[in-house]
């Protein structure tokens, strides 16, 4: 188990390129947030798909580490994402992840992604991480 403070420290130290904030960590769940700037946009003034994919993947990773601790090198094996609505170019993006299975070998979670305060998700993802055996 890892707390929000421990996870925040871990990403700052070990993943300096990780560009998100951890909003909250709960029971098999976590919410992360990304501030949107010009480099995240695509023509038409909306947040690009890869930015949302990256955030979905990061939300899964944060949630899994919050449960199994900061040691293991879990890696994504599958990610399926549906893009549902056009995010605002001017609002933060938040990704809320809930694990639906946390096994010894595989962890699977779903992620709803929101733009600003809108209750309708802009994207929804389901992803699988492989958890390496403890040595």
């Amino acid at each position: 188990m890892a707390t929000k403070a421990e996870l925040t420290h871990f990403f700052q130290t070990d993943f300096p390129q990780a560009d998100f904030l951890i909003d909250s960590v709960g029971e098999k769940s976590a919410t992360i947030r990304k501030k949107i700037n010009q480099g995240h946009l695509r023509p038409g003034g909306t947040v690009s798909g890869p930015v949302l994919m990256e955030l979905a993947d990061a939300a899964l990773y944060v949630t899994i580490l919050s449960e199994i601790g900061l040691v293991a090198h879990a890696v994504t094996t599958n990610l399926n994402i549906n893009f549902l609505r056009k995010p605002s170019a001017e609002k933060d993006i938040t990704a809320k992840c809930t694990l639906i299975k946390l096994g010894k070998v595989l962890a699977i979670g779903e992620v709803s992604i929101y733009s600003g305060d809108s209750p309708e998700p802009v994207a929804h993802a389901v992803g699988t991480y492989s958890i390496p055996p403890v040595k």
Copy 2:
């Protein structure tokens, strides 16, 4: 229909943040390439998953535009990706896309992603783009 030269010009002009080269464009297919640098890596010295997702998405987009031309604003509606093997940190990544359906409303393609000259893909994706109606 758009040629490799027209597509290359389009991405340089309209998507300046697009960070890939178009290697070839064929019959409902295209191959793009990305040079890997330090910013694309994750701990353990491998290319990060989001870099591969972004390249899969871009390969689909390039291939669809090569068929329908540079006008339409196609957007991704779904992307499913499997991560298969660990890419090298020192080799270019190439993404080869083949469309399996090009309808009036939806285009669907599959993408195999390779690291350097290895014949075994490091990732495989299937994605759907929504093609907006011509006005």
Copy 3:
């Protein structure tokens, strides 16, 4: 909009091979149930994967028809399913669907599938239906 009674009548009349009961219909959601018999099992005494896939697809269809009415001929365009746990061979299977987008052209929903009263899902699916234009 269609009620539980209207949907039940529709499936009995138009889809006689549909082998499930509609438990409840709510706001952009529905729950259906399937009684498991010997023909639904695979070696090892568990419910076969295709039975769960079929139920996930049916739950999406019921939920979409509950919102758009019984007229349109919606068809599945994509289904992604994760198998999470081994279902019991002796318990009913229920599938709870919630729509995450109901657009004019595409409807997307997620489905959690349960075995008996266990709160942990045995499978989780996300699917997209194409909604044909009203003529």
Copy 4:
């Protein structure tokens, strides 16, 4: 490794409900075939989606067993399927599977599904099987 004859015998003996023929088995690939009857159709006179999903899943299973032998109890962990075109109600359906990864723990393959002799696939699937450890 298992031959076409060994696989055919295995499915007749251990999976009597499996309703398909094995057309061919090759290097990390196999093709299976299903004869379509009235019970496989849905309103509108086309083969139902679940019939195609079941065949995609079976094609993966046959191909994996052709490589790892008939002993192991491999199970599907993920299946993602896109429905591309309307199959004919009067033609056999064939499913051609190619493995894109055969690891110790996970096997991943893609499946193209055809109706009759048409070269355009009616569906395309990618699936993952978990391979249990040899005891």
